[in-house]
Symmetry: C2
Subunit: 357 residues, 2 copies
DNA sequence: TCAAATTACGTGTACGCACACATGTTGTAA
DNA sequence: TTACAACATGTGTGCGTACACGTAATTTGA
């Protein structure tokens, strides 16, 4: 292992000069710089990241704004855990992450949480920008104070955020289309079930549907695509009748897409016998969805690896703060196809995290 | 951030004593130990991994034994890159990895490479145990010298290796079965094409086929499964005739499985018109396979993320050497389902590596 | 009772780098 | 010649830990 000291000795200069060259800090005569650069290249010097990190130890505050999760809305548990794992990892770099949560259905709680957050005077913010109007305000405050911020999971455009980390919804919809089409016969029809017009995921769901429809239009335009919409959230059970009626009326429907993360709710209400002849494609590996998958009720789940989204968000921001490494404006997370047969071999990072904590 | 020093001050002892407690090194009186432990817990002390790593800097040699890749056998490029990325990352910990390659079809080159390797006197070995007989010899040498070793990508049993990192082939075959079944109609038949009876991947291919057959037996026993085998490696082109004849003779064949990583070869030789009505499922995202996928010739590829396998192998071994962290005996890598629609969003780590290097 | 052995703890240094500060060197104008 | 920039380079310290070594305190044994 070749160190700065070795380089310095070889070049007959001090480590300080080598350091100046390494970081383009200036104040070095051209010929010494040349000499040092040559030796650096020749000896293939690489900065020891560990020692470097240790020496650069910052003392920064990070803040995260993310929806709470509970039994009803378990989706956010996964990104939260990713955030926590990321926080643990960047902690030794002198970065402390503070998590602020809010109710995903309550804009007020969103701004309230942000008020708490801003009092901390964070050096950067990682957030899920669920509410459009309120986000505008928040971003004003942040940019006024020159606090960098990145979005994850929810892709709100035009906010000049450092970057977006998450799934591309339209493409996810295309993939869902492909999978559905593969599962059904040539003359079959498909149904899209919109379970909930959430404030937050409306946009994403909409994009997914658009992608789905787009796929069929491009690849099999003759396929008939039906839509059913339920505006009342928790009444899905009572809406079972409506779905089942609809399916009876359209017996050629063989594929169902649920663009939200609530496909398990849908399969719960569909007649069991009918369910057997249907292929269901949904999103996200929530415990309920996975259960339905393993029972064979759901054929495909498309996972967005939300754990990784959280994790990556923290790491990306830390990298930006510590090493001034500017990320791509968009960091798409995988469109991971999950079936009963490969679920056990996915999400290993997340499982590992849960085992260790 | 709370440090060892803080703890020491609080407990009226020196940092050395705290360190002894932290690492159960002994030589501390019970009451001081108690006191220190209490303070540690109360202040939620966490070892700073960076400083720790720097202080623990080892000076170890790692050695990797892996097949070469070339234009013909590009498969091994990916794990090799993973190995290289891992090597870069563990380098600052004072671990130097040395890579030795061999010809995957030549057992002699395997043992020759190992002879070179062992001269280095490595402290640990990461290897792909392709040849059974020769591996037995190699392992004898290694265990005699008490050098720990792990296997990756090829799962040879009964060699007392530290662990195996790679795909579970039988399960991969099951998944392939599921995907194939979803794609074809109820009365269709399927064909398994064994392109090459490689020395090395024979076992893996065989397991995949077993899993595939098992899936149909369990879920759709009436499906007829044909097999075609080509023992001569590079003559696939000439064998095109044989495949096409076979397909003509069995027009009900609609799904094809190629358990090796050479599905692109198969689609090259099949009549173009016939190909359109077939669903092909194969393995590994080699450039050729990906090309076939993007042209729509192949429906599904199952990726084993071999880049990650290589990467993880190095990291796992380094973790074992530095922190004595004993890994699970088996670390299964994902069964990743790749289609034309989601390929762009997978293998991001690998792509990033190539971009940076 | 006293030296030797054992135990309990403190001290100092190394790890490799980043950065602030000190020191040196050259050139230029008064 | 002196004074003083302006630039070039050297020095020292801190980051948090691991570990070898040293030293004091206590115990043991004859």
């Amino acid at each position: 292992m070749i160190t700065i000291k070795d380089i310095a000795k070889e070049a007959n200069v001090s480590v300080g000069t080598v350091d100046r060259v390494l970081h383009n800090r200036g104040g070095v005569s051209p010929k010494t710089e040349d000499k040092i650069r040559k030796i650096l290249k020749q000896k293939k010097f690489k900065i020891n990241t560990i020692a470097s990190s240790l020496a650069m130890k910052k003392n920064l505050n990070l803040a995260t704004l993310i929806p709470q999760y509970d039994g009803e809305n378990v989706f956010w548990k996964s990104p939260m855990s990713g955030i926590q794992k990321g926080s643990q990892e960047v902690n030794p770099y002198g970065i402390e992450n503070h998590i602020f949560t809010f109710d995903q259905f309550n804009p007020q709680s969103y701004t309230d949480a942000f008020k708490m957050l801003i009092q901390l005077q964070p050096d950067a913010v990682v957030m899920v920008p669920i509410f459009i109007k309120e986000t505008t305000e928040i971003i004003q405050t942040l940019s006024h104070r020159k606090i960098p911020y990145l979005f994850f999971n929810v892709d709100l455009k035009g906010y000049n955020n450092l970057c977006y980390i998450g799934q591309k919804s339209f493409e996810a919809g295309i993939l869902a289309g492909k999978l559905t089409r593969l599962c059904i016969d040539s003359e079959d029809e498909v149904l899209i079930v919109l379970t909930r017009k959430n404030l937050y995921d409306y946009e994403a769901n909409f994009e997914r549907v658009k992608g789905f429809v787009h796929y069929f239009k491009e690849n099999k335009p003759e396929t008939k695509i039906h839509e059913l919409q339920f505006d009342e959230p928790s009444k899905v059970e009572q809406s079972g009748e409506r779905i089942n009626d609809f399916l009876k009326k359209h017996p050629q429907i063989k594929g169902i897409l649920v663009p939200s993360s609530r496909i398990s709710n849908v399969c719960r209400v569909i007649d069991h016998d009918k369910l057997k002849e249907l292929k269901l494609v949904g999103f996200d590996t929530t415990p309920q969805n996975v259960e339905a998958l393993e029972k064979g009720l759901v054929t495909f789940l498309i996972s967005q690896k939300s754990f990784n989204q959280g994790y990556k968000s923290i790491k990306t921001m830390a990298n930006y703060l510590v090493h001034k490494k500017i990320p791509n404006n968009e960091i798409p997370t995988p469109l991971e196809i999950i079936t009963k047969e490969n679920y056990n071999f996915s999400h290993s990072e997340e499982r590992k995290y849960y085992n260790e904590n």
